[in-house]
Symmetry: C2
Subunit: 423 residues, 2 copies
Amino acid sequence: MRILLVGAGGVGDAFAKIAARRSFYELIVVSDYDLSRAERTVAWIEARHGAQDGRFLAERIDASDPDSVAEVAQRHGVTHVMNAVEPKFVPTIFAGALAADANYLDMAMSLSEPHPTNPHEETGIMLGDDQFALSADWEKAGKLALVGMGVEPGLSDVFARYAADHLFSEIDELGTRDGANLVVRDELGNEIFAPSFSIWTTIEECLNPPVVWEKDKGWFTTAPFSEPEVFVFPEGIGPVECVNVEHEEVILMPRWINAKRVTFKYGLGDEFIGILKTLNQLGLDKTEPVRVRSADGPVMVAPRDVVAAGLPDPASLGPRMTGKTCAGVWVTGTGTDGMPREVYLYHVSDNEWTMAEYEAQCVVWQTALNPVIALELLAAGTWSGLGVLGPEAFDAKPYLDLMALPVDQGGYGQPWGFEDRLA
Amino acid sequence: MRILLVGAGGVGDAFAKIAARRSFYELIVVSDYDLSRAERTVAWIEARHGAQDGRFLAERIDASDPDSVAEVAQRHGVTHVMNAVEPKFVPTIFAGALAADANYLDMAMSLSEPHPTNPHEETGIMLGDDQFALSADWEKAGKLALVGMGVEPGLSDVFARYAADHLFSEIDELGTRDGANLVVRDELGNEIFAPSFSIWTTIEECLNPPVVWEKDKGWFTTAPFSEPEVFVFPEGIGPVECVNVEHEEVILMPRWINAKRVTFKYGLGDEFIGILKTLNQLGLDKTEPVRVRSADGPVMVAPRDVVAAGLPDPASLGPRMTGKTCAGVWVTGTGTDGMPREVYLYHVSDNEWTMAEYEAQCVVWQTALNPVIALELLAAGTWSGLGVLGPEAFDAKPYLDLMALPVDQGGYGQPWGFEDRLA
């Protein structure tokens, strides 16, 4: 297996660092629009783990240009293109990988567009629509595009498949629930507002109409922040206010798993929900440029870019952050014994540990872990498939086993949690 | 009396329209940086009230240049310069008026600067400090600078003086309280967020440390939004959440009126307070430019300018606004009969009426009304003084009488209200 990693930002950097401890591939080409970022990642790996005998290379790439992606992939005989940049680049990397006759993985799917006249009830273009539309091309080429293979989507979809295969005879709801107790402090130790993930992407996710799937209705949308619910997260995180958010799981799970309802709720917490509502109310979430006075005369800037410019870079927050983040799926329905059942399957990532082990903050590290595991299963032939597929199209058990197996036994040493909530 | 009005924005335009119905002056020169704005105001007056035989002239002026202000004033033999622009231009208009040997009025005083190391407890440079420092120059020139002569400060200070002279033997607190029930709707009739006063100035007022005066301590500051209090406003406005805000009354009243405590609380309401806190938390209130990406490469813009650019112009809101705004002073202490007393003296402005009568929204109209009355009293010699003085330095009774007197009896037909809250 020869991998082209597109993007050496927070998640890409963590992907390479995690993969550096594994041996299932021959080559990882770490590429970025900014070559120095790719070189920094490769240098960190060589400093930490010794010379890699050419297993890691740094390259410059333009993710917005399919030809650039295909050229780098072909030059290195790449078998798998790993997309680790913002989802707006999905179409070009997706096309470049196919052109290079390589397989493809991403952690977020092609972007949605709201319904033009009825956005809070009906879907428009959905997440991933543009990718699934090309599934036949991938099948014909004999290649796999494994989409949504981060932590959420990704590990959450694996959990859902596991619940369907091993824990339930009938599923009422597959509810992905994401929450954290992360706190960021300034130099003086005061708590500050600093989102642990790209504010640009967070605004996109949270202010787009959330999508819900029901067996009788299919996919439909609601107003942003709908159906608030306090969900109690494990391992000391505790209760967090969660709301519906547009997310890939709701698109992916119903395609392969039988359930009555599929939702995604994000534990944003009261404060962050209030901030996002205010940004929306004041039009500061907008991506269309507005005319603003400046010392050099009027300029055109997108309000959302101004919001992002004023906040610290999430990748820089690791050393100033404490706490844990939890990703998981809450499943309700009838157990294999015919009795009502309610479980929460989850994985927790602790910032203190990810910083000490990988110099990566926990949210990006947890995201990056999962595509490494998936690639290892694909390299071994444990997972295989053609066309555009989600993580739940594959057998969940070998994935969760490899993830949980201790490092000294050849696994990733990342146990996952299980709560039987009716027990 | 020959008046130079500097600024034909919302308040300046309303000032000219209100003055057009009075006859106490010979000339009003309506001036603006944008000559067409001044011409529009003059044209409206002539269309509504007929030819004014040269009583109104339009001129271009640069409020940031004392020489420009002095030149226009001298050319027209101006006796009184009326400042109706943003407070950042106070120093230059103030200097230009004195250079032209004219008297001066404004509705907001020179800006403050927070204490460099202890901003939430101690004052730094206070509102109006830069003006009071020059009082001797004005006295020597035999001229008056009447500062803070809008509605708040302005009418509020007149109310305070009236209470001290006619209603109380001892005052515990002079508490200016400002509240409204204004609602702005979009074309579809949905309520929208649209501040009825410049968001730039509102942020400045609300995020600067509020100042409080106490007889034993003098002036001191608190953190923004301190001492929240629900104040019940009259004439159907009802209860509104008010918080301490930096305002001129707290600086002016203790200079001329004997009280134990002087405060200003603004009825921002929960929602607006939340929005201002969020803007502050995200650094979007900042006036220092930040580097932001744009289609033309990185640009430098002040986040506060971006916030303002995204909101509708307050002067344009009149037709889409409903409701009333109330300005007044809540006075507690001992009445002239020796008994405990608590009164609220106030003036209410109804947007429906100000739009119908003046095509001006009620907040700017109410602000502009008061300097017209003050100038009429100065023209008549009822009010007179030298140096830098606040409205409470003058007798309040003739002011309130002229304001309340019906139009057909020569007054302004604007009754003021009085609530005896212990009765």
